[in-house]
Each structure stands twice: as C-alpha cells, then as structure tokens.
Symmetry: C2
Amino acid sequence: MLVERNRILTETIKRLMRRGSTARLEKIIRKVHAADLPSVFPSLSVSNQRKLFQLIHDAGKKAFAISELDEDISLNIIESLSLEELAEIMDNMPSDDSVAFIKMLPQNKADAVLGMMGKTESEEVEGLLRYEDDTAGSIMIPDFIALKENMTAKDVIESLQSKEYLDVEMPFYIYVVDDHDRLVGVSSLRQLVVVPSTTPLHSFMGKEVISVTTDMDQEEVARIVARYNILAVPVVDEDEKMVGIVTVDDVIDVFREEATEDILKMAGVGEEFVETKSIVRSTRIRLPWLFASCVGGLIASVIIGRFQLSLSKVTYLAVFIPVIMGMGGNIGIQSSTIVVRGLATGRLHIKDIWSSMFKEIAIGFILGTFYGLLVGIVAQLRYEREFLALAVGLSVACSMTLAALSGSLMPMLFARINIDPAVATGPFVTTAIDILSVSFYFLIATKMLCL
Amino acid sequence: MLVERNRILTETIKRLMRRGSTARLEKIIRKVHAADLPSVFPSLSVSNQRKLFQLIHDAGKKAFAISELDEDISLNIIESLSLEELAEIMDNMPSDDSVAFIKMLPQNKADAVLGMMGKTESEEVEGLLRYEDDTAGSIMIPDFIALKENMTAKDVIESLQSKEYLDVEMPFYIYVVDDHDRLVGVSSLRQLVVVPSTTPLHSFMGKEVISVTTDMDQEEVARIVARYNILAVPVVDEDEKMVGIVTVDDVIDVFREEATEDILKMAGVGEEFVETKSIVRSTRIRLPWLFASCVGGLIASVIIGRFQLSLSKVTYLAVFIPVIMGMGGNIGIQSSTIVVRGLATGRLHIKDIWSSMFKEIAIGFILGTFYGLLVGIVAQLRYEREFLALAVGLSVACSMTLAALSGSLMPMLFARINIDPAVATGPFVTTAIDILSVSFYFLIATKMLCL
C-alpha cells in the first residue's frame, strides 16, 4: 500500500536524520523514486526539511520534489537556496512547473533566476507567465511535436529521433500544422507505427482535432480531456496558432485539487489543505467563516429576545429550538451541497435555476411535512397543550422548505454574479437558515398559542 | 464552452424530436462525437430516451453512449433492447465497460447475452466478473501488449502491426514478460521508435516496473497512477502473472467519482448524483440522514426540558441556544471535513489519530476562547446579569472545543473499524454536537447562576 510505503520511508529517513547518518541517507535518496520523496517532508521539522533537500544530489529529483511539495514547505526550502541552485532546479523542470515555481519567488529573486537560466528555457517560462492563473495557458507545456502534413511516416519517425524533440515530455500525439502553424490534424504514435512507412501524414491523420484556447479555465480543459478520453489536448492562441499542450497528468491534478478545494471551501476551512499547516495558520483560516455563523447566531438570539414575554409564559417553547434549527440546517446543507457540486461537475447549469429550485422546494416540502408530523406528534405526547404540536410541526415544515429553497437558490445566485458558490454558500446558507428558522418558529408559535 | 455546446445540442435534438424529423436526427447523431451524445439523454422523457437511442446506428457509438449514461437512464434503455441488440452493444465495448454493463442486467438476461457474444470477448468478460467491485481487477482491461525480452525494436513494431494487437485500446507501453508471463520490464512507444531497430527489448526496457495487484482498491490504484505520472499501470495476479492494465482515463473517472461521492455522502444525499433523479427518489435518499438529526434534536429538547424550572426563572437563557449550537455545529463540520478529506486523499492516516486530535482540540480551544469572549461580551452588554456573560462565554468555548474534538475523532474511529467515514460522519457528528452543546450550556448556566 502507498500509505504504508510512505510511512516506512518517512520513519527510516527520520531515524537516519536523528543519527546523522548522511551517507546512508544519500544512498536511500538515490535509490528511491523521485515521486516518493515529497511525502516525507511534511513530517520533518523546518530545519530537517532543508537538510534533507540538500542531500538530494540529482537535479531532476530536486526539481520534481520541490514542485510536488505543499507551498509552505517549498517556500521554506526556497529561502535556504542560492540563486544558482534555484536556476539549476528550474532548468530541470517542465516549463509548466517552472511557472508555478517562479510565482513563489519574490520579484527580485525571480528576475535574477530567470537571467541565470538557459536562454530557451527562460524564454519559455516568460512566455507562459503571461497567462492568467488557472487557465489552459498557465498549465500547458510549450514543448510538443508539430510537423507538416506532407511528411511520410518514415520522416516523422526520423524527426522523433532528432535532438529537437528529445525533451518533449509526453509525446503521445504528433500534431500536424499548416504553414501558419495552425493546427490541421493529429496522429497518435500508434497510428504512426502501424501504417506503411511511405504514407504521408495527411492521409492517416485525424482531421477533427479537439483543441482548447489559452484563456480557457483549467476545469473546463480538464472536463474536455476527460470527456474525449484523450491523453493531451492542444492549446491554440487567438490566431489559431498552436502554442502548447495540456497533458492528462495535469488534468488529474486539476480534478484532485478542485474537488478537495470545493469540499474544504464549503466547510470554510480555506482553499488549500490545512492539515499540514500550523495550528496558528489553521486557526486564522477558519476564523472568518465562523464569524459569519456567530453573527447569525447572535441575530437569532436578538429575535428570540423579542419573544421573551411569550417565553416566560410558555417556557417549553425553548425546548424545540434545537430540533427546528437542526432540521433546517441539515436539509439546507444537503440542498446546497447538491447544487454546488452539480455546478462544479457541470451537471447543473445556472440556467437550470428555476427547475432546480422547484425540485428542491418540492423535496423540502415533502421531507418537511414528514418530519413536521413526527416532531409534532412527539410534542403532543410530551406537552398535550392545544395547538403546540401544530405550531411546532408547522415550524419544522416551514423551516425545512425554506432551507431547501435558500440552500439551492444561494449557490445559483452566487454563481450568476461570478462569486465562487463553494466559498460563499457555507456561511450564508447556514446563517440565513438559523435566522429564518427561529423567526418563523416564534412567529407561528405566538400567533397560534395566542401569546 | 462544453456546457454551452451540450445545451445547443440538447435543444436541437429536442426540437427535432418534437417535429419527428427522423432523417435530420440521424444525420446529427452521425456527425456528433460519441462523447457528446450522453449529455443529451437526461433532458429527455423516458420514451424519447429510448427513441433517441434507437436512432444511433453505429454500434460503437451505441456502446459508448450507454456506458457513459447514468445508471437509471441506462437501465431504462436496456429494458427496451432485444438480446441481440444487447450482445451487439457489448461486443463493441472495452471489456471493463462490458463488465459494468452486464452487472446491470438481470441474471437470466446476462447469461443469455454472454452466450450470444463473441467467444473471446465473453470469456474476457466472465474472467473480469470474478473480481470484486472497486478493485483493480474490476476496472482493468485485459488487452495489453506483452512481449518477450529478446525481441528487437523492429520485431516489436512488426508485432504492433499484427492483427492480435490491433484492438488494444490504449497502447502506450510495451510490457515485457518472462516465460511464465511474469512482468519483468516495460518500454514506452516513444523509446521504441527512437532506438536503432536492431536493439533488443531487454537493453532499453525499464526494469523497475510499478504494478498493482488485482485486489487493490481502485482509489489506491488511482493514487499510484497519479503519483508516478504514468498512463497505465499493469495489474498482476497472486502468481505475479500480468493479467491486465488500468488506464489513465479510468483513473480520472475514479477520482471524479470518489470526490463527488465523498462530498455527497458527507451531506447525506447518497452516493450517486441525485440531481438528475426524480423528486421521489431524491427524497427517499435524503430521508434517513435527516432522521439522525431529528432524533438528535429531540434528545436536545428533552435535555432542555429538564431545565425548564431554570428557564422559567431566567427566560433569556433560551436566547443563546442558537449561537451556542451554531458555533459548535460549524466548527465540528470544519474539523470533520478536514479529517474525512485528509483520509480520502491519503494525506492523513488513521495512525495520526492522536496528533490530529490534539491539533483540532488546540484549534477548537483557541477559536472557542475567541468567540466565547465575543459572545460573552455581547451577553454582558445586553443583559448585565452577573455571571451570565461568563456562563454563555464558557459554554461557547466548551461547545467549540468539544465539537472540534468529536469532529476529528469520529471519522478516525469510523475509518478504524472500516466504516466509510464520509457516510457516518455527517449525522453522527452533528447530532452529537447538538446534544453536547445544549447539555453543557444548561449545566454551566444553572450552576453559575445558582438556578
């Protein structure tokens, strides 16, 4: 198991670091797969993270490790590195990783490092830096194989062996471009080896090429790669000129990140994974979301305060506050989760706002009636006071219906005004539902019990 | 945009179906990419779903469409198909999809269809049916390229052109096996075309091959493919014999599914996406989770009932119930979300239970103290009653600390006894926190105010 393996490696490295067995550490680092190293760092102290990184001698492994680490760990290590070391690391990264890496450096360091890198590599990175975060441009690799359509299969295979294409990272497809570098076709490596060697590219290439534009959102790019089951999608600029490819490994990262981000954002615990972060940092990230809920709770308390007279007459009104708030809150979370996730996976669209709202209200009403009856019966058995059961039951039903409505409506509205529904929904929905539930309960109860 | 494109296609097809323009529908279906068709079905009526499916004439497109549809839609279409049609569809599916497909059929139909399929294909499917759901065995493809190590690059390329390997779905890698079919090496297609044609496989193949076993959980398989950035991972059986590969497109599906499943399960809205399902079905799925929260709310009401005497003396005790419950509930959701997601992504391990608990208690305590002070000050300003502010503030702090503790502890405990933490956490954590918050509040308040 991967988890087991991480653990054994981490423990071995920690033990050797305590003992200071540098030679054995270097040997282990040499033998281990580059992809296994990053999992060790989070368990080490800040100074040991730096020490361990210094023991990695292979430049490729260094580059790989640092681009896979969490940002706070990378930043800590970067601080301890010289400009020469930074430039060497960047020269050994695929350009898309270099771009992410350079964005972590302070401006003056970034400029200095770009100056020290190989010319082609630094030009590539500077080219990619133009694109906005989370677009196809920012995650694409500018190395790909693009040839002309009159080349034969044999010519193509010879080109593949040429120096120019040797460091193309993942050469799954041969792209075919016209004289203006516009994308006109694609062939897989597979097709290339099965056709007779004199066949020209244009006679076996696929002519309907799925491509994306540099400014397309990375989630959209990921969905396209997933839908058409392709290993890489070509990226074209505004002049339809091919400028890069986004590969399937980056798509996997996008899906994993976005899913985790959505889950964490909905609970108000930030965008990044905070478990590896310090207590102080986690606390700071979680504080604001809780503030919204605190304000909501205090508003609810003001509302209850206004009904203090009724409460003093019928003290057991207070008894049902938790069940009414809880039922509303929980169905609200259900509705908003469905909508937020639906919007994220593309199964729901903001144009579906009315049908989705109608559906949620219907579900809220059915479930509200069911649980309203249940809670009403319990209330009747316990207190046997005229109209109390009815008031409590009605409040549960109202609260649940309204909660389902606001739980589905709010994320849709946020999405429509371009606010990330996952971030905004959590605090707004729970706060709104707390206030609505309490208000309706006391309004209904005081009216029905004539308090 | 993909979403826009789905919408236009869906609307065009709906319009043509209303008009009954069969010829134009058939033309559109012929021209459209197979991957674009499935998105149309959810918007159609049950009978139109069947009609549209009948208009797909290409067997490959049929097979692709039906395996990408949601299960309830597939089932509806399957009911309308003859055994011959079912067998033809299955003959055109990759074996991993056939397995998922055959599991949807009733036993007698499944046996009849397997009997009618091509012999090799039906044997493959029956072989795969042995493996348990959600294991590497159940999602692997049994078609792959496995050759002997003394073959030269030229021999290998010739083999690729042979009939035997023509329907290998995604031939990224050439696997090298010994005389007992045990995996000994791997070469990419890329390496194959860049070496001189007389080089034997064993001199350019990679010898450290990452592989998985048939019984490994699909999430674990997905994590391995993602970590090592590979396009396919070979699957070996208990005798180390290579029996299949899991490809990167299935890995993407695993990640997407699991992330959505986790989010939906935590909110108690089932495992599958319910937005496309009927109101009745959605209601049924959401009912049980709400039941737990209803029971929790009623228990909380019984607890408050026991303090009725105190409440009648100091009615405004009720005023702070919402804020205390809300703060506890929200921080509990934060803690449990972090732990559930951490366990799912492999960043947290159940062995980390103590350190993670300690951290959550610390965060709960800091945030609890902060918001306890805040709410306490508000209480003091509003009611100016001795000890009330202290009691309310202390209750907020206790409730939040306990909530952070139970929010992090419960998913860990569930994971340890092999209950999916995402399913169990939601109802248990919120219910437990409601009860704990209310109990502590009234205990502290009655003691401090001497009621």
